[in-house]
Symmetry: C2
Subunit: 105 residues, 2 copies
DNA sequence: TGACAGGTACGACTGATCTCGTACCTGCCG
DNA sequence: CGGCAGGTACGAGATCAGTCGTACCTGTCA
């Protein structure tokens, strides 16, 4: 099963890119908010209210998607992002919990 | 209790710098090798045989030290590095296990 | 149909990061 | 003492990452 539009499949998720993606505070915030929602929840990119331009938002979501942290699917007008919770938990158990436990600053 | 020579104390260890430090494969390798040794084990910087110059080795060990991942103490001629296992485990439980579980490539 | 909102693509700028060479300091040992 | 090995400091080069503006595409909705 090949990659679907830049989404690595589970066994292709590498620790290096994942940690690099999570090194950015804005991306960590996205993951944290998604982790706080019920499993499978999907939100639009713009619903996070990131304090950067649209182009930069796209850039950050691509980083998350290519690292394998989120899945993005087109739904009509927008593109919904959801956390790949089970996949990440399978590859790196506990990692999501560490990110989710970080407090806002 | 102030920082000791660039070593943050436990409550000052932040997730961002830690993840940024671990995003580099060379630094992850150092942490992995230290994690594989008995607790408290100390090794010289050069004993890891990193495939980079001395100056670059110093750079990477500073990144690890300032993130709070290792502790470096002068011992005569050399500077011994040891993993801050308990400190990291207290702040981010499971993180070391994730890094240690990564296989060589 | 036309306007608009959500996203993407591209190019550009800026600052950080990785890398190195060189110079230098400090113990150890012959 | 003199050399050497382990590390650091500094400066430089190259590459990468975060940011933006602009242009553009695509559904939705009045």
């Amino acid at each position: 099963m090949p990659d679907d539009e830049g989404h690595p499949n589970v066994e292709e998720i590498e620790l290096g890119p994942v940690l690099a993606a999570l090194a950015d505070p804005l991306r960590r915030r996205v993951v944290r908010e998604l982790a706080a929602e019920p499993d499978g929840a999907a939100r639009t990119c713009s619903s996070f209210g990131l304090p950067v331009s649209k182009a930069t938002v796209t850039h950050h979501f691509r980083a998350l998607r290519e690292a394998g942290l989120i899945r993005q699917v087109d739904r009509g007008n927008s593109r919904m992002a959801s956390l790949r919770r089970a996949d990440i938990e399978q590859r790196f158990p506990g990692l999501l919990g560490i990110v989710a436990a970080e407090s806002e600053e």
